[in-house]
Every structure is written in structure tokens, then in C-alpha cells.
């Protein structure tokens, strides 16, 4: 073993140690989802018993998962969440990218004022907008519809400003001018030149908005009136009693609800990280 490799051993040991620590809550959640209510408090991970390794393997159960899909409308809620999160994040990403591009690369009267307006919108606390948003949705006839939930979320000021900054740094004006001279239209320039240049930011923002929409808990309960339309976040919460909790059921519901998001994160993690760190190092 070369000295350089040997020097890496403590680093890997430390990394494995911290990885295990990080995974403990996750493992705890999986084992809790497989335990009966009686076993939940008796052991930290797996129930103790006479089986191999001193564990009562025979007492592990998939009942919580079975109950989840039989007794509660989790399937329906899953479809609702997938639709809500994917449509919201796709639309929000494209609209914010377009808005950011417009503010970054086009000169027009009022651009500075408009940028300031976007920046100013960032400091308005969300709860302040609940009452006016509710009234607006009602007056527009959008209460109890997904449009009422998706439309207000497709142009967040944060996203527009984020893409404006990304466009300023990543898209050279010479490239745009060259494309215009070659006869490309504005939409073609946007889709074939600008979007690939800010690809990491697209991935990062898509993941952020997807997570935001997936985890949105209060919003759907305010805009949607029909319980059948509630997404997974609300359905999982409805598994909880007002004062007590069936922890195994909640853990199984939580596992089901985080699985799609984890898959998406694994697919987008490279873009997510490079999107967040782009511009962090001065080149």
C-alpha cells in the first residue's frame, strides 16, 4: 500500500463513521415501520427475541404497509402528489428560467424597476399572503382546483432572481448575438443555447421546487376543499391522531412518501450540487 493510500484510511474511517451516524435515523425508521405497536417501545431497532442474533424476526410485520394502502387513500394521494409536484416544478422551472433570462439579457424600459420588484417580493412573508390569496382564488373560481395551487407557485420571485443571476454569469452576450446574426429566433436561442448553459441550475431549481411542492402541507389544505384531492403530505398527517400516534403506521407512510423524492434526488444530485456551487469558486 502506498503511503498516499495509507493516509486516506483515517479519512475513510471517519467518513464511514459519519455515514453510519447519518443513516441511524433512517434505519430506525425502516425498523419501526416493520414493528407492531406492542414492540415499538420495547427495543430501539429490531424487537428482541429468540431468533438469530437475539432478534424476534417472526414478530416483524408488513401490516403497517398493508393497512396504509387498504385503510387509507394513500394510492390516490400518491397520484395527486406526483401530479402536483411534477407539474408545479416543471412549469416553475421554465417560467423562472424565462423570467430570469428576460431580466438578465434584455434591455427594456423599467428593467431595473422590475428587478427591484422581484427582489422586494422576496422579503414578503408567505403567511401575509394567505388571506388575499384565498380571496383571489375564490374570486377567480380556482378554490378546490389544482390550478389554484399550481398557478400561484409557477413564478416564485426567488426562482426568477436565481435564474437572473445564473444567466448573468453563465450566458455570454456574444453567444446570443452570434446566434441572432445566424438567424435564430428568440425561443430557439432560449431552448438551444441558454437552457443547456444553465443546465445545472435547471436541475437544482427543479429539485428544490419539486421538494417544496411535494412537502407543501398547509397550502393544499387551504386551496383544496375535497379530501380526495389532498396530496400525500396531508394524507400522511391524517394518519396521526390528534393526541396520539401509531408510530409504525406513520413510519411506513413516511417511507412511502420519501421514496419518490429520494429517487429523484439520486437522479438529479450531480446537477443539484453543481447548480448550487456554480459561481462559488472564482475562475
Amino acid at each position: 500500500m502506498t503511503p498516499r493510500r495509507a493516509a486516506l484510511i483515517p479519512v475513510y474511517v471517519a467518513l464511514i463513521f459519519f455515514a453510519v451516524i447519518t443513516l441511524i435515523p433512517f434505519i430506525w425508521m425502516i425498523t419501526s415501520a416493520l414493528k407492531t405497536p406492542e414492540d415499538y417501545f420495547t427495543s430501539f431497532f429490531l424487537p428482541r427475541g429468540e431468533g438469530w442474533g437475539g432478534i424476534a424476526w417472526e414478530r416483524l410485520t408488513a401490516d403497517n404497509f398493508r393497512r396504509l394502502f387498504r385503510e387509507f387513500p394513500i394510492g390516490r394521494a400518491m397520484v395527486n402528489s406526483c401530479m402536483l409536484a411534477s407539474v408545479t416544478s416543471t412549469l416553475a422551472t421554465f417560467i423562472c428560467a424565462m423570467g430570469g433570462y428576460g431580466l438578465a439579457k434584455f434591455s427594456f424600459r423599467g428593467r431595473t424597476w422590475l428587478t427591484s420588484l422581484v427582489l422586494g417580493a422576496l422579503i414578503i412573508p408567505g403567511p401575509l399572503l394567505i388571506a388575499p390569496s384565498y380571496q383571489l382564488l375564490w374570486q377567480l373560481g380556482l378554490l378546490n382546483s389544482y390550478a389554484g395551487l399550481i398557478l400561484p407557485a409557477i413564478a416564485p420571485a426567488f426562482g426568477v432572481f436565481l435564474f437572473r443571476q445564473a444567466m448573468l454569469n453563465a450566458v455570454p452576450p456574444e453567444l446570443l448575438e452570434a446566434a441572432r446574426i445566424d438567424g435564430a429566433g428568440e425561443f430557439r436561442i432560449f431552448f438551444t443555447i441558454v437552457i443547456p448553459l444553465v443546465r445545472p441550475m435547471i436541475g437544482a431549481f427543479l429539485l428544490i421546487t419539486f421538494l417544496g411542492a411535494w412537502n407543501n402541507f398547509i397550502g393544499p389544505q387551504i386551496a383544496l376543499q375535497s379530501p380526495e384531492a389532498f396530496p400525500l403530505s396531508v394524507a400522511i398527517n391524517n394518519l396521526r391522531g390528534l393526541h396520539g400516534t401509531e408510530y409504525g403506521l406513520i413510519m411506513s407512510g413516511t417511507l412511502v412518501s420519501i421514496a419518490p423524492v429520494m429517487c429523484l434526488f439520486l437522479l438529479l444530485q450531480r446537477d443539484f450540487i453543481s447548480g448550487l456551487t456554480s459561481g462559488a469558486v472564482k475562475g
Binding site: 406492542e38 427543479l206 387551504i222
Partner: protein, 471 residues
């Protein structure tokens, strides 16, 4: 003539967007197609919002009966479960934006009181006072249970519960130590009689067992204890009255419960796995227990079955009140709903139903505020979880004595401020190593006076709800 624009290399889909993004787009298309082919069903009729999932089951048969007897689609009842914070936001948003909400709402005490923060004629709930009087319903309810739903003399909700408090204790530990709890009349007795149970079981020099689940950050328990002592946070005209000798005396004693040489309390929060573990392990002997909490323990801590009993709360002084109150829900009819008469009929159908009362008691141990129900046999059955005690009968015995509560929109603000006083008082006790309640009272009074001034200023900022000037 410019040359037409051509890309040198034919782009692939992933050169535009990451693979994950394409998957999101694909999921969006597929799930939208599924959603469009499987739309949520339209539910004509009256909307009824609740915040407790248990009540979905408890009300099921009564709602089915109602819907069967009222076949007109407009009169059918649709029940919707909402998280309490979502319910609150919808209510407040609708109240401020004048938008429609449900026809009927079950609201928790603090939430409902917030709706009263305006002129009486602008309250978003139907005034039920005249209806209740015309139908002679007032005497049918446990009188103190109406108080949280009355604002400026008008009743805006039917009481759902009474929520009297008893003391739930680990009878297996207490009886194994040969202690007779019938000797306990006051909180001083409680400490004197049960004190020997405070023990260092593992020999590390620190007690592993405490007598009461209480800590200075437990807002609800603090409120229950203050109410039990006779504290009122508002006078009849709605003025804040926290700067009071009684409050100072109670808060000073509570500080000595959680710190100092005679500490006998431990923080074992309800509704948490950690707190439940402490209860199972016997780290805490007793808990203040309203009826709904007895139901919660039965449902969610089965390991305590047969190991717990109920007793009356120790009084603050000999001959004092042996119960208190914690929590509360009412059923209100919203002013935006059409045909409030039908909603009123449904409200009575639900809350005067013996089947609903029995369901509530069996599922959550909650007793009905309708006095005629109290003789029903299900309240008088022995409960194996509570070592064969007749749980319903015990709570019913205390029901007429629960303290009345003001329904001020500033309830929450006042309690939050009192919690600050309690925490500051504990810090003062620790700093000066002073753990005698009488010695702490002057500081408690000073902190309460500051709290009173602060609260008066904050209440005075509400131009829509301002108590009349003090005479």
C-alpha cells in the same frame, strides 16, 4: 441575406435538460393523465370541517343517519378532516377576505376565541343564543362548558365536551410502596404522602423517579393549575387581570415544584414517544389527566393497562377545587353558509345523539356536556385499563365543578406572557438560590405587573375589539 442558423451537432434530449428533469416531465404527463381520468368526485351538500381524525369514525353513523333522512343533495353532510393549523388559517383567511368556508366547523378553544377579535356583529359564526333559549337547551348543558364559546354575552357554539381533569397515577408503584392516596387532599399532601417515591434507583446520585409530569414550559398544564386555583385572566368586561396576588402565589409555588431541594416534577411531554417511554418506565408517577388524555393513554400506551388509576386532583388549599379543565371544542355554524336552520338541526342531531356520545366515550373517553347523557350505562362500566375504575362516572362527578373560562381573543397571548413570567421567576429563584414560595411571591408580583402593563398595551392596539374603559 443571413445564413440560416444551424447547430453543428444534433442535440440530444439530455443536452438540454438533465435526465432527472425529463423524468419529472414524464411523471407530470403520466400522473396528469391518471388524474384527469380519475377526477375527485363532486360532493354537493353541506361541508363540515373537523380537526380530529378520531371523530371521522365517531360521527360516521350519525352522519349516515342524517344523510339517509335528508335525501336532498343540498342537505347531505360532507365531513372533511383538516389539520388544526390549516383549519385556523382557512377560518382566519375567510374571516378577513370574506370568502366562503364550511357550513359547520368544529373549532378548538383558542382558535374559536380568535374569531371573536372584532365587533360582535362581524363574528363569522351564527349567534346561537336566541335559538338555545327558545328551545330551552341552556339547562341541558353542563354550565361551565358553555363559557369558552360565549363572547360579550352571546353564544357562538355548542359545547362538544367538558374535559374535567383528574390525576392519573401509577397505581402499581404507589400500592407496592404501601401508600394510600386517599390521604391526599392538597398539593402539599401530594408531596408529603408520595414524596418517598422520589428515588435514585440506579445509584448515580440523581433521582430516577418523580411525582408529577409538569415543567415550566408546559403551557396547558400551567393553565389547568392556574384555573384550578381560581385564577381568571380577564374580568367580566374583558380587561386583562393577570397582576393578581393569587397568580403570584400559584406561580411561586409552581417554581418550587420544578427546581430547588423540594423539586418533585419532571418533564415527560404528552403525545411524544419520549414522554410515553418515561411513563412506561415509571420515571413519572402522576399526570394531570383530562378525560380525553385518559382515552389517549388507553389507545396509544397499551403497556400501561392495569397499572394506572385515577384520583381527584389535589386541591391548592384544604376544601379547594379538586378538578380543573384542559382543552375544549365546539360546533359552530358559519354565517356565510346558506340555510343556517338546517345546519342548526344537524348540530343538534349530532351533539344530542346518545350513539355519538357513546362512540366518543368509547374511542376517546370524552364525556358529553349534555347532562341527560350522564346516566347512560356506558359511562358507568369498569375500565380494565384503569384497574377496573369506572372512568366515565369519575369524570362526570367532577364535571359541574370545572372552572369557567373567558373566551377572549387574547387568551393565547395572555398565557404565552404568563409562561414568560414563570420562566423568569424560575431563573430568579436559581440565581438567588431562593426556593421558598413565600419568598418568591414579591418577585412574582413584580413580573406579573410588568406582564399586565405589556398585555394592556398590546390589547389596546386592537381597534376592533377593545374592552370598555375601566370604571
Amino acid at each position: 441575406m443571413p445564413r440560416p442558423f444551424r447547430l453543428r451537432r444534433r442535440p440530444t434530449p439530455t443536452s438540454f435538460l438533465p435526465t432527472g428533469a425529463w423524468i419529472v416531465v414524464l411523471v407530470g404527463v403520466v400522473s396528469s393523465a391518471v388524474f384527469l381520468s380519475w377526477p375527485p368526485t363532486e360532493r354537493p351538500g353541506r361541508e363540515f370541517w373537523i380537526f380530529s381524525n378520531q371523530r371521522l369514525t365517531d360521527y360516521e353513523s350519525a352522519i349516515a343517519d342524517w344523510n339517509r333522512d335528508h335525501p336532498d343533495a343540498r342537505d347531505q353532510i360532507n365531513i372533511t378532516l383538516l389539520h388544526l393549523s390549516a383549519l385556523e388559517r382557512r377560518m382566519m383567511a375567510a374571516a378577513t377576505a370574506d370568502a366562503p368556508i364550511a357550513d359547520l366547523v368544529e373549532g378548538e378553544r383558542d382558535l374559536v376565541a380568535r374569531v371573536f377579535a372584532g365587533p360582535i356583529e362581524e363574528v363569522g359564526f351564527v349567534d346561537l343564543t336566541d335559538r338555545i333559549a327558545a328551545e330551552n337547551l341552556l339547562d341541558q348543558f353542563n354550565a361551565p362548558s358553555l363559557s369558552p364559546w360565549i363572547s360579550r354575552g352571546r353564544i357562538f357554539g355548542l359545547p362538544h365536551d367538558v374535559h374535567p381533569c383528574l390525576l392519573g397515577y401509577r397505581s402499581d408503584i404507589v400500592e407496592a410502596a404501601g401508600i394510600d392516596v386517599s390521604q391526599i387532599e392538597t398539593w402539599d399532601d401530594f408531596y408529603r404522602v408520595l414524596g418517598p417515591l422520589i428515588a435514585d434507583l440506579d445509584g448515580d446520585g440523581r433521582p430516577d423517579r418523580y411525582l408529577l409530569n409538569y415543567w415550566e414550559n408546559q403551557r396547558d398544564q400551567t393553565q389547568a393549575l392556574l384555573l384550578q386555583a381560581g385564577s381568571q385572566f380577564f374580568d367580566d368586561a374583558g380587561h386583562v387581570t393577570v397582576d393578581h396576588a393569587l397568580n403570584a402565589r400559584v406561580l411561586a409555588r409552581l417554581v418550587t415544584w420544578v427546581t430547588g431541594p423540594n423539586r418533585f416534577c419532571v418533564d415527560a411531554p404528552e403525545f411524544t414517544a419520549g414522554g410515553d417511554q418515561m411513563r412506561l418506565e415509571g420515571t413519572v408517577i402522576a399526570s394531570i389527566m383530562p378525560d380525553w388524555l385518559a382515552g389517549t393513554w388507553k389507545n396509544y400506551i397499551p403497556g400501561l393497562a392495569g397499572k394506572v388509576k385515577l384520583m381527584r386532583l389535589p386541591a391548592w388549599e384544604p376544601g379547594g377545587r379538586r378538578t380543573s379543565v384542559w382543552g375544549g371544542t365546539c360546533l359552530s355554524i358559519t354565517t356565510t353558509a346558506p340555510d343556517p336552520e338546517k345546519s342548526w338541526a344537524f348540530a343538534k342531531h349530532l351533539y344530542f345523539s346518545p350513539q355519538v356520545a357513546e362512540g366518543l366515550f368509547r374511542s376517546t373517553a370524552t364525556i358529553s356536556p349534555v347532562k341527560a347523557m350522564w346516566s347512560r350505562p356506558f359511562y358507568h362500566e369498569p375500565d380494565p385499563f384503569f384497574s377496573g375504575q369506572k372512568v366515565g362516572a369519575r369524570y362526570i362527578r367532577e364535571a359541574p365543578f370545572v372552572p369557567e373560562r373567558a373566551s377572549s381573543p387574547f387568551n393565547t397571548m395572555v398565557m404565552d406572557r404568563l409562561m414568560v413570567v414563570l420562566i423568569d421567576l424560575k431563573a430568579h429563584a436559581l440565581e438567588h438560590q431562593r426556593f421558598d414560595p413565600i419568598a418568591l411571591e414579591p418577585e412574582a408580583r413584580r413580573l406579573l405587573a410588568a406582564a399586565q402593563a405589556d398585555l394592556e398595551a398590546r390589547v389596546g392596539r386592537n381597534v376592533l375589539y377593545r374592552p370598555p374603559p375601566s370604571p
